[in-house]
């Protein structure tokens, strides 16, 4: 686990990039998952909801296909359930207020040369690193 997965990282990243490029080229949509998810529950019309549901279904199916071929998905949680609930809330609030996440700002926004996305990406990377530092090295405990 401690050894970097360079090949998987590059290949997986390229697949993500390909997916985003395809969605933009064909459907004209940005593959920003927080926005896609948020749009499903928002006050929007049927067509706006359908393509988003289809995309999320694809996300699950894609990971499912990999899981079948690889014999499972390795998901090693680094925190307990109460922390994960709090984390989920923050991710939800933050991505809604910040208009995006790693895919929307990091992958798509940077590709569009968006100054907003650069600012957002640098910010969430910094706060992510700061949070991990406080939890792991400053012995800051949450619950």
């Amino acid at each position: 686990m401690t050894e970097a997965n360079i090949i998987g990282g590059l290949l997986g990243g390229a697949l993500i990039g390909l997916a985003a490029a395809a969605l933009l080229w064909l459907n004209g949509r940005i593959a920003g998952v927080s926005g896609i998810l948020g749009g499903i529950f928002g006050p929007i019309g049927g067509a706006e909801r359908s393509w988003r549901v289809a995309f999320v279904a694809g996300l699950i199916a894609g990971a499912g296909i990999y899981s079948l071929l690889a014999g499972g998905l390795t998901i090693a949680f680094q925190s307990g359930t109460p922390t994960l609930i709090f984390a989920g809330l923050l991710v939800g609030i933050g991505t809604r207020l910040g208009s995006g996440c790693t895919s929307g700002h990091g992958v798509c926004g940077l590709a569009r040369r968006s100054p907003r996305s650069l600012a957002a990406t640098l910010t969430f990377m910094a706060f992510g690193a700061l949070t991990v530092f406080l939890l792991r090295h400053a012995k800051f405990s949450l619950f």
């Binding site: 390229a14 948020g38 199916a61 990971a63 923050l90 609030i93």
Partner: protein, 136 residues
């Protein structure tokens, strides 16, 4: 119908990418954010791989007048870097550092059947709803 199928297929590619790159594994993500510890650069390679495709591709695609199967490009309209953007990104970053999960990997991981993932996803949806109420 074609657009629905494209969305589904794009989602599959995306989900495959998340699984292949191990971004569905919080250990990998937090390992990347743990710059003071045993640093795991995998996430950096994922970003590099993704941007290697999207940076040139988006440039070419967005020179078109419209997408292949839709009437227009649905792009963000906001231009300014405002407190909401930075504040939101900060909160997201904290949540990401706490759990090692962000929206894409969390949703894709529902494929594992893990109840904890489901709880995270529900919390995420609740958080988005809350922010929507506060913001609007």
């Amino acid at each position: 119908m074609a657009k629905l199928l494209i969305s589904f297929l794009a989602g599959i590619l995306f989900g495959l990418g998340l699984a292949v790159s191990e971004m569905v594994n919080p250990a990998r993500v937090i390992g990347f954010l743990d710059i003071a510890g045993h640093w795991d650069p995998t996430l950096g390679f994922v970003m590099a791989g993704a941007l290697a495709v999207t940076a040139p591709a988006f440039g070419i695609i967005l020179r078109r007048r419209r997408p292949l199967l839709a009437a227009e490009f649905y792009l963000p309209v906001k231009r300014d870097i405002d407190p909401r953007l930075i504040g939101g990104a900060a909160l997201f970053g904290i949540g990401w550092g706490l759990g090692g999960l962000c929206p894409g990997p969390a949703l894709a991981s529902l494929a594992s059947g893990s109840p904890v993932i489901l709880i995270f996803v529900l919390a995420m949806i609740a958080g988005q709803w809350l922010a929507g109420r506060i913001a609007d």
